[in-house]
Amino acid sequence: MADLAIEVAELKKTYRTPFRRKKVEALRGVSFSVAKNQIFGFVGPNGAGKTTTIRTLMGLIRPTSGTAKLLGHAIPSRLARTRIGFLPEAPYFYDYLTVGELLDLAGRLFGLDATTRKQRADRLIERVGLDRARAQSLKKFSKGMLQRAGLAQALMNDPDLVVLDEPMSGLDPSGRKEVRDLILELRDQGKTVFFSTHILSDVEAITDRVAIVARGVLVGEGTPAELVNRHILGIDVVVRVPREADAELTAAPAGITRIRRLGDELGCTLPADTDVEAWLARAHDQGAKVVQVVPRHETLEDLFLRRTSDPAPGEPPAVAS
């Protein structure tokens, strides 16, 4: 379908270590699709298969079975790659080049003429904040600077689809914010952004859709809201009350959790079905002042931890043959 940027169907990849006769089933049938002009987050714990999926999409490795299409072209497609920008995981580039030279090389491989290469390189170097590092060779770049150079080289062809493997890794909080802003800007320009991460706050902040992968299979897919807002887990309350009242207030209802005392404040989490008004009235009788009442929704992190620690369906990922 023309409005899909990425279509992945039953992708499987088994790594074989020669000599050791050991097989690793890194992908065990991954299917998902990414609509155009979306920000799609691909999340999962270490070793889940994110990088393997991305390398397969970019034609670096061949899938054992399954199919994938990028911008309507079956992989590997040179034609599709002219419209795609890619940031590899923990990128490493020719360290004797300056960032300008790296971008020029990228531009040549994208078939751009000299003027366009120069213009885009200048603009992108500024955009990713490497203006002051222009004269340095990449060898002297910090991890975060390399990540920025990597983002810039991925955007040299003004791509329709941007594939980023852990774009925020190695960046400090302000760097992460800048990358988040850049990703949002790319979507506003009409591009599709597909990125992997395990920083869940970034996913919640900017993605339109999320897929959660664990042990080589998808364990959840949807909008961040769809995935997490289905139920309230409990109600966080904090009241200012003398210590003597603790026993009476936490005696009921049953299922009260996370009881904690912070100076003159008592905090706890009431079960989702508690009559909060009644509980607060009881607290009031003990001379309590309400500090905070917040319904606790499931966060992406809760969901992530729950989904990715489920026992794996099917076989374990590593089997000796």
Binding site: L60, I61, R62, P88, G150
Partner: protein, 262 residues
């Protein structure tokens, strides 16, 4: 396509130009020429004879060793350091990458051969002996030898580690150079052995074609000091070398195409 291959070739040239060992080799070869100068002085007659022999042997030996060194490392380090990830994910075919890598290497080796040749020519002129056409022809043949050896090394490194590739390439370089001697030696043996040897030698690049001085060709003795091969021989040998390069690169590209970059 040409633009992309050229971009890879230029980048490879830059990469190789940063390898310090290459400058060490340059110094070595120039040193060998100086040594030849000294030895030539000591020779009873025809001092330029020694100079020519040592000069040409130096080019062939050091050129080929450099070719093997570059061939087994340059492709391998791209995969090892993952610099290749940001390259082959661009709209470039893998064979274009292999060819670009080879051309960059060939460029470096050509510069090296030219410098070697200049050093040798300078030395010959210093001695008062002329730079004969035979020396020119021998230089061109050495140049093609080096280019074929580079392709051989790339071929092995497209599927093997630098260590193994280096050993394979070195072995084939030696065998390729002494093919006629092996053939002669096995002629005396049983027909079966000599037939097997013939078949085996067919798959080894005929590098002996490029170092003909001191051999006999079609019954005539050939020497850079006297009767050397005609230009037509140089042309044919070069074409033969290009044939080998194309074959080796084609195989390298096919093998490289099938690889996973992880």
């Amino acid at each position: 396509m040409i633009g992309r291959i050229w971009a890879i070739a230029l980048n490879t040239f830059r990469e190789a130009a940063r390898i310090r060992v290459l400058y060490g080799i340059l110094v070595l070869v120039v040193g060998a020429n100086l040594l030849a100068l000294v030895l030539g002085e000591m020779a009873v007659h025809d001092e330029s004879r020694v100079a020519r022999d040592i000069g040409l042997a130096g080019i062939s030996l050091f050129g080929s060793l450099t070719a093997i060194f570059l061939g087994v490392f340059l492709l391998y380090t791209e995969v090892q350091r993952r610099t290749i990830h940001a390259i082959v994910s661009k709209p470039i075919e893998r064979w274009e990458f292999v060819v670009g890598k080879y051309l960059g290497m060939a460029l470096v080796l050509s510069v090296l051969v030219v410098v070697f040749g200049l050093a040798m020519g300078g030395m010959l002129l210093w001695q008062g002996g002329g730079v004969t056409a035979a020396v020119g022809k021998a230089l061109i043949l050495s140049w093609f030898e080096v280019l074929v050896v580079a392709a051989l090394a790339i071929f092995f490194s497209s599927f093997s580690t630098p260590f193994l590739s280096g050993i394979f390439a070195l072995a084939l370089w030696v065998i390729g150079r002494v093919t006629p001697d092996i053939e002669r030696a096995t002629q005396a043996a049983s027909p079966a052995i000599s037939a097997v040897t013939k078949v085996v030698l067919r798959i080894v690049p005929d590098l002996h074609l490029f170092s003909v001085s001191g051999r006999s060709l079609d019954g005539n003795a050939v020497s850079v000091h006297g009767d050397f091969v005609p230009w037509s021989y140089v042309g044919l040998a070069s074409l033969h070398g290009i044939g080998w390069i194309v074959w080796l690169l084609a195989f390298a590209a096919v093998l490289f195409h099938r690889r996973d970059f992880v």
